[in-house]
């Protein structure tokens, strides 16, 4: 049962993180911390989406000329044009 002396303090414009002022200068709707929240809908806050891995984790590099080579310093050139050893090219 509520107390009829109760004063409601309404926060309905959520999502505005504001640390520029002291706690006495900000408005009630200002937030102290908005963390991983989407604020696109005006007035409400929504938990943010994440991210998904694309492809598989890279653990070595495999050149197109070999199916099993590991990270190497080889200069496989099957897919590249070697540009020069001298310093001028045509």
């Amino acid at each position: 049962m509520s107390d009829n002396r109760e004063t409601p303090i309404i926060l309905d414009n959520l999502g505005n993180m504001q640390r520029k002022t002291s706690r006495f200068q900000s408005t009630n709707d200002d937030a102290w911390l908005v963390q991983n929240a989407d604020v696109h809908e005006i007035g409400s806050i929504k938990k943010r989406l994440g991210y998904d891995e694309r492809g598989t984790t890279l653990t070595s590099t495999t050149s197109t000329s070999s199916s099993t080579s590991t990270t190497t310093t080889s200069t496989s050139t099957s897919t590249t044009t070697s540009t020069s050893t001298s310093t001028t090219t045509t």
Binding site: M17, V34, A37, I45, L49, D52, T56, T81, T89
Partner: protein, 509 residues
């Protein structure tokens, strides 16, 4: 596993979408895991799409371009191109910032290609109006400058371009008087001495941006049809013929720069002295600090990370990965900040901020590819992983920690004490959200820790505050949920109920 040193993406005119990662000593197709055998040095690699190709620069390797239709690298469009740290397509040409010529760095120089034209094979291509080498020769008394295997004509050197001989008896600056053939040009005077194996470079497609100081080029972008040249401390704009300095700082991190063509604004990070460190917006006139609302979090960024912050766009938001935050210097823990792998998110339309800890150390980003007509945004971490963002309900399998803290609410001002009786929460899909509170001014103390109130149950949830722990002048509320589930909690409205007791703080006897 190691860093993703760079990410590049492209959607070709023929409809081939490719995502490439600089990883280890190679560039790798992320979707197939297959590399191209480029033997890179492991430094940052920057990519830029142009002419249906991906250009790249790593400040070390002779540049190549990537053909997305044939899935190969070759030297089309870069047959003789300076090495640089940064590159940007602007007004139908490619611009390079912070270049290296014959092993010498030019940290304030911008070089650029010519506009595309048709080569001898009927293909559209660009030349750079640039030639360099170390096998040129001259004869005393002659104006001929000869270099075997050069391409003065092919690479479109012009009358009036400078020729720089870097050492020897003829070292100095000359002007090209004629371009007779690929391997011979004439200058407008005669050489003093016979000399061979001359190291030289020639070309006029360049300009310097305020040299002779330590303020070096840090990145390139565009705005209002102008080329933006970011240095560390200053920002400049180039209209194709002249430079102008913009009011506002430059950037400490090339990868913090994001251009929003739909708004014609640039947002970027500047890290230096504490008074200037922050996130800035350039909208065509001046560059202004837009991060004052989260200044304590800006202050918590490690200065060691100023040069490695990474940003990307997500819809109308700017998202900036800044690394770990630490700003612990108060006895009141509410003012202390400690957070790992923080991302600052700025909603451009609403001017609102959030601070979002994620699960990964982000090293690179790309957003030049479209799939099914939708722009795709990718970020790369320090462990060989590339992520598609925003997507899914976790951070690559790790939980998303959602948290919302209200400011301290003083219903009747900080001098009136009373009882907080209950709170009412209006929400959607929020049944996993836990609610906490902290009392401020009890009457002289602040709760050191959060007290649990309960969990949101229904669309309208009422939680009663224990009367034994309800007397204060102010209250702060927190809402928290951490998980990987599909449901995305929404909180619409919070109502706090307060019964005043006195209008004056009693004396402390």
């Amino acid at each position: 596993m190691s860093n993703i040193y760079g990410l590049g993406s492209i959607s070709s005119t023929s409809g081939n979408n490719r995502l490439l990662a600089a990883y280890g000593n190679d560039i790798v197709n992320v979707d197939t895991g297959v590399g191209y055998g480029l033997n890179l040095s492991g430094t940052n690699v920057e990519f830029e799409p142009f002419l249906d190709r991906l250009f790249f620069q790593d400040f070390t390797k002779t540049p190549l371009t990537y053909d997305p239709d044939n899935d190969v690298f070759n030297n089309l469009h870069v047959k003789h191109t300076p090495i640089s740290k940064y590159l940007k397509r602007w007004r139908n040409a490619m611009y390079l910032g912070f270049v290296k010529i014959n092993g010498t760095n030019y940290p304030s120089r911008v070089m650029y290609s010519n506009f595309p034209d048709i080569d001898g094979n009927g293909n559209k291509t660009i030349q750079w109006g640039f030639m360099s080498g170390s096998n040129a020769s001259v004869v005393a008394g002659s104006s001929n400058f000869t270099a075997a295997n050069a391409g003065f004509k092919t690479y479109q050197l012009k009358v009036g371009d400078p020729l720089i001989i870097e050492s020897g008896a003829n070292a100095g600056l000359y002007t090209i008087a004629s371009v007779d053939a690929d391997q011979i040009i004439k200058i407008n005077e005669t050489f003093q001495s016979t000399q061979s194996n001359i190291t030289y470079w020639a070309g006029g497609n360049w300009f310097d941006v305020e040299t002779d100081n330590s303020d070096t080029i840090m990145g390139l972008s565009e705005n209002s049809d102008l080329l933006l040249v970011y240095k560390q401390d200053t920002l400049h704009r180039y209209n194709g013929s002249s430079l102008r300095t913009v009011r506002g700082p430059g950037t400490s991190s090339n990868r913090s720069i994001v251009y929003y063509p739909e708004f014609d604004i640039n947002i970027y990070f500047h890290g230096s002295v504490s008074e200037k460190t922050g996130i800035y917006m350039y909208a065509g006139s001046n560059s202004t600090n837009i991060s004052l609302a989260i200044q304590p979090f800006i202050d918590a960024i490690s200065s060691a990370n100023y040069s490695s912050v990474v940003a990307w766009p997500e819809g109308n938001s700017y998202r900036l990965y800044v690394g770990n935050l630490s700003n612990v210097n108060s006895d009141n823990n509410a003012y202390n900040i400690e957070m790992n792998n923080a991302v600052f998110t700025y909603n451009i339309l609403d001017n609102k901020w959030s601070v979002d800890p994620i699960s990964d150390v982000i090293k690179s980003r790309t957003y030049s590819m479209r799939e099914s007509g939708v722009q795709k945004i990718f970020i790369g971490n320090d462990s060989g992983e590339v992520f598609d963002t925003p997507s899914g309900y976790d951070f690559g399998g790790q939980p998303i920690n959602f948290r919302y803290e209200t400011k301290v609410i003083y219903p009747s001002g900080s001098d009136a004490i009373g009882h907080f009786t209950r709170i009412k929460i209006f929400s959607r899909d929020a049944s996993l959200v836990n609610v906490y509170y902290k009392l401020w001014g009890t009457p002289y103390e602040v709760d050191p820790t959060w007290r649990p109130l309960g969990q949101i149950g229904r669309d309208t949830t009422e939680l009663k505050i224990n009367r034994d722990y309800s007397r204060a002048s102010g209250i702060q509320l927190a809402f928290e949920e951490s998980g990987t589930t599909e449901r995305t909690s929404v909180i619409d409205k919070i109502t706090t109920y307060f019964v005043p007791e006195t209008t004056q703080i009693p004396e402390d006897r």
